[in-house]
Amino acid sequence: MRDETRRDAGRGAQEMVAEKMEDYELEAVRRINSRGGIAPHLSLRFGSHLFSIDTSRAPKGSFQPDAYLITHAHSDHYGKSAMNSPQAVASVETARALEIRYDREYKGRTFKVGQSIVIDDVEVSTHATGHTIGSAAFSWQTECGERVLVTGDVKDYRHLPKCDFLVTEANYGDPYDPSCIFEDDLAGFSEALEDGASFGAYAFGKAQRAVALMRAMGYKDEIGMDEKSLVLTRELMGDAAGPLTEVHGGISNVVTPWNLHQVHCRSKYFLTGRRDTSYPTIQLSDHLDFRGLMRMIEHVSPREVLVYHPEGIRASLLAHHLQDCGLETTSLDLIDRFVR
């Protein structure tokens, strides 16, 4: 399909979804920031409510939403900015991860993943997504009874509820990119662990996944970690992390990738899906692959979908694919309603 045709098809679908959203008194809007650009990501307006999703904080004096829902503490979900607002809503673990990562106080409300929280008279349920420690999806019903589900990034969709309107991600949502189809190489990871290897993993998310897997695979010795990884893992995993220590040779280490060369160890691996790396890699993803995303969508069985993340082309590619599958879908780039 040519780009213009695709865009026209996208516009048509966007209008259809917009009409449906109006039927439900549900509207997706984006905010213009102080520099005149578009702030990430989006807000959902329904009835008299406005919930912002993984969105940077509106400047003081600007119109504020009822809530800044923060799905997890990765930087491309803008908790660094939203955490400064009393309207921020994040899991206990996400709030703590933001505090450690950015060395500032989280000023919003917290919840335990799986519990409900009332925001401006709306009961919002939360659901584990398995992407990072504390990552959460949010769901609620509008006054018209429409069930909204906002997933954030997802690794495990089993806890997600059925919905009518789905706001979801497409990190590996490109149907034409072979790298969006993958399996985690747990056997390779186990083999490397038995061989006494050390691993390069980003400090928040992948490092805790690696430690959890090492413990699940029966590794009981100390795990060496660099400073930021150590603080995050101790705080967020607690006793489940087992004994942790500073990086040293003779044990398995989990360190930030660019620190891996400083580790004295006979075998080293990056835990990543990238291929252009200077060490061998083991595929260990915090995301669903394309097939997983499709299974997730089937699982939650929405009537309409809005693909809101990541920025770039993948959200619109997944949206087009879902349209081809007969599901009314739009993507973030096609939202044409803005607030200041």
């Binding site: 491309d76 660094k80 390069g200 980003y202 930030t256 990738p257 660019w258 990543t272």
Partner: protein, 96 residues
Amino acid sequence: MRRGYTTAKPILMDFYADWCGPCKLQAPIFEELARDYSDKAEFKKINVDKEGDLAIEKGIMVVPTIVLEKDGQEIQRWMGVTAKEELIKAINMALD
């Protein structure tokens, strides 16, 4: 590029760390290039220990890594110390 450095010119980003020996070899090459090609491209030095979010966003695994982007899209990346001539060639190709 999603944050910070969106520009019509190609942009070269040098991801480095203060403790990294090879980064110290890369630095004068990069700085010379930045001086000679300032009218054709943007040059940014990024300390991975201070701008970890950006390093993660760009999938940086080792330092030094140089990433060349144009219109927000990555064109090429080099890991390890990279010669000035190789970077010049890539900048010129990005300008074509």
